[in-house]
Symmetry: C2
Subunit: 484 residues, 2 copies
Amino acid sequence: MNQDFFDFVSIQLQRDAKDALYVQLYSALQELIVSGQLTCGYLLPPVRKLAAFLQVNPGTVAGAYKLLEQNGYIFSRAGSGSYVAEITGSTGEECIAAVPEPEIETFTRLERVLPDNCIDFSTVMPPPDLLPIDDFKNIIIEVLDRDKGNAFSYQDSQGFKPLREAISSYLKEQGIKAQADNVQIISGAQQGIDIIAKALLNFGDYVFTENPTYPGAIAAFRSRGAKIVEINMESDGMDIQELESKIRSFRPKLIYVMANIQNPTGYSYSLAKRNRLIGLARRYHAMILEDDYISELDVSDMPLVPLKALDRDQRVIYLKSFSKIFMPGLRLAFLLMPPQLVSKVLTVKHHSDISTSGLTQRAFDLYLRKGIWQKHIAAVRRIYLERYQIILAAIGQFLPPAVICHRPMGGLTCWLMLPAGVSAAKVVQEAEKAGVLLTPGTAFFPRQAPDKYLRLSFAVTCSEEILQGVKVLGRVIEAELGEI
Amino acid sequence: MNQDFFDFVSIQLQRDAKDALYVQLYSALQELIVSGQLTCGYLLPPVRKLAAFLQVNPGTVAGAYKLLEQNGYIFSRAGSGSYVAEITGSTGEECIAAVPEPEIETFTRLERVLPDNCIDFSTVMPPPDLLPIDDFKNIIIEVLDRDKGNAFSYQDSQGFKPLREAISSYLKEQGIKAQADNVQIISGAQQGIDIIAKALLNFGDYVFTENPTYPGAIAAFRSRGAKIVEINMESDGMDIQELESKIRSFRPKLIYVMANIQNPTGYSYSLAKRNRLIGLARRYHAMILEDDYISELDVSDMPLVPLKALDRDQRVIYLKSFSKIFMPGLRLAFLLMPPQLVSKVLTVKHHSDISTSGLTQRAFDLYLRKGIWQKHIAAVRRIYLERYQIILAAIGQFLPPAVICHRPMGGLTCWLMLPAGVSAAKVVQEAEKAGVLLTPGTAFFPRQAPDKYLRLSFAVTCSEEILQGVKVLGRVIEAELGEI
């Protein structure tokens, strides 16, 4: 391939899509610019050359360039070509263009005012009354009495050693061979993704993700200037044929997956696909970042085994949050790493925030050792298992049969595909008017997001609210179906 | 300039230096490779062309290339040229090459075993018995009783609003106009630097730093692929002439400074230099990141005013840690930003670790509002003021007159320049044998570190230890002087 077009290999145009080709190209180029892959001053290829490379009419490229120029993304110099522009605006903004700004997920915008009496299927954060306050308060007091000033001193950047040991024992119970030396304590799962991105990715490297996937991961990879290539999710895991064909072309450094109860789909990988995924990663020298999002809340008879348990070749980096679902404000997670990554990741962690709060680490260590964590999880599982059964029953009962919902293996959410012709954005809007909050699926697609998915979370809704909310949703979808 | 040599403009070779030119060039190229500025597969310029550009003999470039190849940094292909190599090693390491790995500062390696009875002038971490445990424990209990589950829920990514309000009131008392809306809560000062690097810097952008400076900042900038240009520190601030000449050539996006009690020198900027710095930043559209490292511990009659207080043009980002010196394990700091940066920085914070621990934020908010923080600072100041006076007196009394120590405006460290011919590395080594730990100055120079500076910290040493330790240091330096 001609080196000049290397920056444009990720562009995929679809002749049968709703948007005209030049609009698709505009969006693709705009994304390359906004994500920092084409930086200020970059000379774009001449219209005819890019057209030949993309196998489109020169008018398509010219149209896309014109639109980019109108919107300030590029500028042209007579006789010299088109260049990527700086972000302009008020004084000082000239130097603010490094990271794209995708929508911050709703659950962190706590200050947003919810309508009274609304039914909230959008948040995945458990309600404060499910959090184990009294237990944790006693633990903190015990730690402060025991450790005194040491609880506030700097922690080793890799993490409080007794906690790393407690985690490796906990992992062994889950079938994962783990040593405390390969555990890195981090400040929540998002930081884990960010640290792995910093440790492994250089500008322009390829990263594979599931499609759809967790938008926070996309943002972390893009902030490293990485190029995202998405692989479609099927109900038993990634489309392996697609993975195989793309991995050969793109040679990604990293594949980001959630093998159990994927976010947002709730899908889990079959054993066959787990093995294929690991095999392909080995063959093409890619690392795998496994984000174990929520496997504690599985509902299957067989416990969900992490991908990491199958990793005989030190290809899998295992990421697990202890705080995400159960004490989200604590910001505590860990990485279990192949030994060759340990010192690299430690350095990156140190440069990111030196260490994770020592008090939090010491308190969680005691919490884990005393078995209170395990008891808390068991209690929360019972509550959510009931809600899980109720929401699936309600979906079967109240939603039109044309709405497709794959039964997830557990978790806190359901993923719905709306019937052809019904817009998810419209359904979200109409449901909100009727007091029901939903998350549109578009947030979870790195690009070309189809407007037909919804994520329903039952993290904060009680049984009655679930029944009532799904009923309302059914009426809204039926009304939309009636308008087709 | 020919575009081909743009990656090499930062290389400066000195004909009168101790190292041969080809060794200097080797080091410079090695740094470009290790820091990720020249990535794997990069085709280096032909020997003759690079020699012409650098105005050196072709043999110099050939020698540097040969040394790079011997050490595995580059490889050559017959007839095609020399290319930057991948990091090799055990399986899987082929994808581990994104971030350089400077030495992690000693104070975070808590597990290192200190010799018995040693006098530790190397750590800047206060001893656990100076930390306000009982006060903080009561505050945490009060917060948990008051906020219950909310203390463990997700926090708004910008930070707990009452804390942002408490901080802006606190800043107003220091002469800084601040609004809670422009305050971003972060998990320690290192994260603040990392977040600003992510928000402002693209691959290849220039950043100016003081020389010497805090190595954690260098690491964060390099991890963004930024190019560091250092400006020498003088006892009244940056060399402004050097700044003016370099700012014109390099057009940096960011200038990182510690205007008060700089780390590691202890120097503070004169008012004239503060104004010149801000004026140059304005003229050349650079942002300034002011790291207010330790201005609470000033000893001057006039309180040290932050640079931010002079910022009429929204050029200065103000970074302040509450935890650094006083409760380092807490990981709590904030950024006060120009309004145009607020949403950008919020997004980057969210992608870095979602939010800072809510419990920590709520506890510190109460701590600040009740005035306990202010009382604690006052108590700690008294202790350190005494040690400051003792160490300066001891330096005057026990060190040879040829050792130069500029009187810092406060802080926890002294910066010593050794007499010509005395190696700081050797002094550190000999002092350690005699039970005295020191930090060599080399850690603080982005490149070409001179072997003649020492940093002495009195964070954990009591008065007797200070006297005893400086005496030992005096004997070690005199012995070295005797060997010249």
